[in-house]
Subunit: 417 residues, 2 copies
Amino acid sequence: MASAVTPPRGMRDFLPAEKAHRERVLQRIRSVFRAHGFDEIETPVMEDASRLHAGLGGDNEKLAYAVMKRGLTLDALAEASSPLDLADLGLRFDLTVPLARFYATHRGQLPSVFRAIQIAPVWRAERPQKGRYRQFMQCDIDIIGEPGIIAEAELMTATVAALDALGVPGCSIRVNDRRLLTAWLAAFDVPESLRSAALISMDKLDKIGLDGVVAELQSIGVERAGEMFEGVHPPLDGDDSWRMLDHTVFADQAAAADLRTLRAAAGDVPLVFDPFLVRGMGYYTGPIFEVAHPEFGYSLGGGGRYDGMIGRFLGTEVPACGFSLGFERLIDLVELGDEVGEGSALLFERDADLPTLMALKAALTSAGDRVRLLARPKNMKAALEQLHGEGFTRFAVITAETAADVETLDWRRLDSA
Amino acid sequence: MASAVTPPRGMRDFLPAEKAHRERVLQRIRSVFRAHGFDEIETPVMEDASRLHAGLGGDNEKLAYAVMKRGLTLDALAEASSPLDLADLGLRFDLTVPLARFYATHRGQLPSVFRAIQIAPVWRAERPQKGRYRQFMQCDIDIIGEPGIIAEAELMTATVAALDALGVPGCSIRVNDRRLLTAWLAAFDVPESLRSAALISMDKLDKIGLDGVVAELQSIGVERAGEMFEGVHPPLDGDDSWRMLDHTVFADQAAAADLRTLRAAAGDVPLVFDPFLVRGMGYYTGPIFEVAHPEFGYSLGGGGRYDGMIGRFLGTEVPACGFSLGFERLIDLVELGDEVGEGSALLFERDADLPTLMALKAALTSAGDRVRLLARPKNMKAALEQLHGEGFTRFAVITAETAADVETLDWRRLDSA
C-alpha cells in the first residue's frame, strides 16, 4: 500500500537533508542579492485568471494550473462555453506576471528605481521528465524604473557574485541584444511578420546546426537565409567574439554601444557576444543574456530587458530588466560545507525521570546546542551512526539515576562511536 | 486604473520591510525548533484531491481550493455529476494531511521517532475578514512514532522557547485531555452518539457562558447538563487549576497521570489545567493544549495528540502529536531589533564612469557591505531620508572624476543627513 502513496505527479517532497541543503543555498543567494541592494518581496501563489492569461506569459500561459470557482453548480458546468469559464484563479507559472501586478498595485510605495528579489515556487503542468518538475523554485532579480545599461550591469554582477558564493565559479555570460537581432533580420529583408518565427528558428542552432536553421528559415519564407550567416557562422568565442560586433549586419549602433559598455562594466566577469542567443520569450526589447557554465551544455540562468511589460497592468511603459537563476539545475552542482555546529544526543532509558531529561535538554539548548532525545535503542551502533550522519557530535546515556546537571554527564564523542 | 489592480481577494502582497520582518521571525522560529532536535521537511502545495478529501481535514476540507484537470473538454463538463469531478488536485488547507501523506511515502527513510518542522503556506477559501486570510503561513512541529508523554513535553518546551526567542514571554499553556472529556461525558450518561456535538457546545463557554452551554447541551439531548458543571465551574486558574483534576468526573486515571507528568516536565513553563479546553478538530485522542498570552483573548497556537491519523494513508496506527504556532497572529506582536548592518549608498551623476561605479560596488560588497546605487536625484533630502529608512548608513557621491578606490571616497553618514 505504501508504495502507492506519492506526491502528485511531477512534484516532489524534500526530506530533511535535502530541505536543509536547499534552504542553505537559497539563504546564501538571498544574502548576496540583498548585499547588492535588492529587496525581497512576496506575492500570493495565485493570481486572478484574467491577469495570468493577459498575454504576458507566452506559451507558459497554456501550462497554468486553473483553480475552480467556489460554489459552482451543475448548471454552471453545463452552461460553460470553455473549461476556463469555471476558473477565476490560477497558480502562477512565473514570477514576472506577479511582479507586473505587484508593481501596479504598490508603485506609490516603492522607490523610483526598484530592485526586487523574488525567491518562490512556480507551477507548470508540463510533461514531467528528468530534471523538469511541475512545481519548482525560481530565483529572480528585477530592476524596475532604470532605463540605462547600469541596470543590466547590476543584475550581472549580482548573479555572478551569487554563483561565486555558491562555489560555482568559472561561469561566463553570453550576451546579445534583441535590437541587433532585429537589425540583422532587417538587413536581409525579413519582413516583420516573419521575425518572431525567424528568431525561433535561429534559437535552434545548437540543436539542428546551421544547415537545419537555414532550411527552416527558407521553409518559413526567409528568402536570403543562405547569405545571412556569412562571416557570422561559426561564431567566435571568448574575447574574439566581440570582433563580430563590427560586422555590418549588426547595424543598431545604440545596442552595440550598450553591449560594449556592459562588457567594460562587468569587470572580471567574462562576457561573450553571441549573435545566436535569442532566448525564448517574446517580450524582450533590449540586451539579453545567459549564464554558461564551462562544464555543462545548459545555461544556469538568463534574463534581459523587457521595457514593455512591467507597466502593462499600470497602463504606462516602465523600463525593466530581470534575471532568473536556474535554481533547480544549480542545486545539484552546489556543495556547501556543513554548517552544523555542536549537536548533543541524549539516549534515555525508559525509566529515566522525565523532568530531569527535559531540564538537561533545556540547559543544552540554552547554551546553543542542538539536542535530540532518543529512547535508548537495542541496536546502539545503528542509532549512533544515524545520529552521526545527522550531524550530532556527542551523546550521553540518561538513566533513572542521572542528575539534572549537564556538567556531570558522561559525554562520548559520536565520531568515535 | 492602478487602484483596481490588487492581489486575489483575501490574499496579500508583502513589501520589502514586511517581507524582511516575516523572514526574520520565521528564521528565528526555525532555528529554535532545529535546536530542539526537529528537522524541516517540505511537501508540494498541492495534493491529490482524493487525499485532501479523505476525511482527515474536518470542516476545512470544504474550504479547499480545487485545481482543475488539464485538457478538459466541454463534454467532460456536461457529463460531470459534481464540480469536484473536474478537479484532480487541490491546494492544502493544513499541513497535517500532507504530513500524513509524506510519512506514508517516506517512512522507510525516516528515524523511528521523527520530529518534523513544516513552515509553509496553506489556503482556505473562507470569507475574508480582519486578521483572516485565504493564504496564510502555518508553523507546525510534529513528533511521529513516540507514544509517551515525552513527545508532548518536547513540543511544549520547543514552542515556549520559540516564543521566548521572539520576545513574547509570559505565555502560559492550557492543557486538557480528550480522554478526560470522554470520561466526564460518560459520567453523566452522555451517549457516544452525542459526544462530538456535546464537545462542540462545551467549547463555546467563552462565547456563550455557562447558561448558554447548558441550554445548548439540553437542546441536543444531554439530560443531565445542569449537573455536569457542579464543582468545575467557574474553573480555577493557575496552580489552583490542578486541584480540579481530583474531581471524580475526570475518571481517566491514565490521562490524569499524563497531565501531571507533563506539568512536572514543563519546568518553568506555567501549565494550567483547563477542563473546558476542547479544540475544534475531531481527530485528537489524548492531551490537547493551547498557548495563552496574558494580554490577548486569543491563543497563539495549539495542538495535541492524534494517534489515529498519521498512519491513515499507511494503513497502520502510528502515534503522533503536533503543535501549530499561530504565525499570522504572532507576527504583529513581535518586534525584533533591526539586524541591518552597514549599508552604503553610491549616488552617481549620470555621466559617471560605469566601470568605475561597478568596481566601487564590487569592492564594497566584497567587504561585506550592502550597497545601493542611486542616480543622484534633484531632491537629495528626500532620497537620503528614504535610504536612511531602508537601513543604509552612509553615502558618497560619484562623479565623472571619481576614482575606483573606495578609500578615497568622501563618505558622509546618513543618520546626520
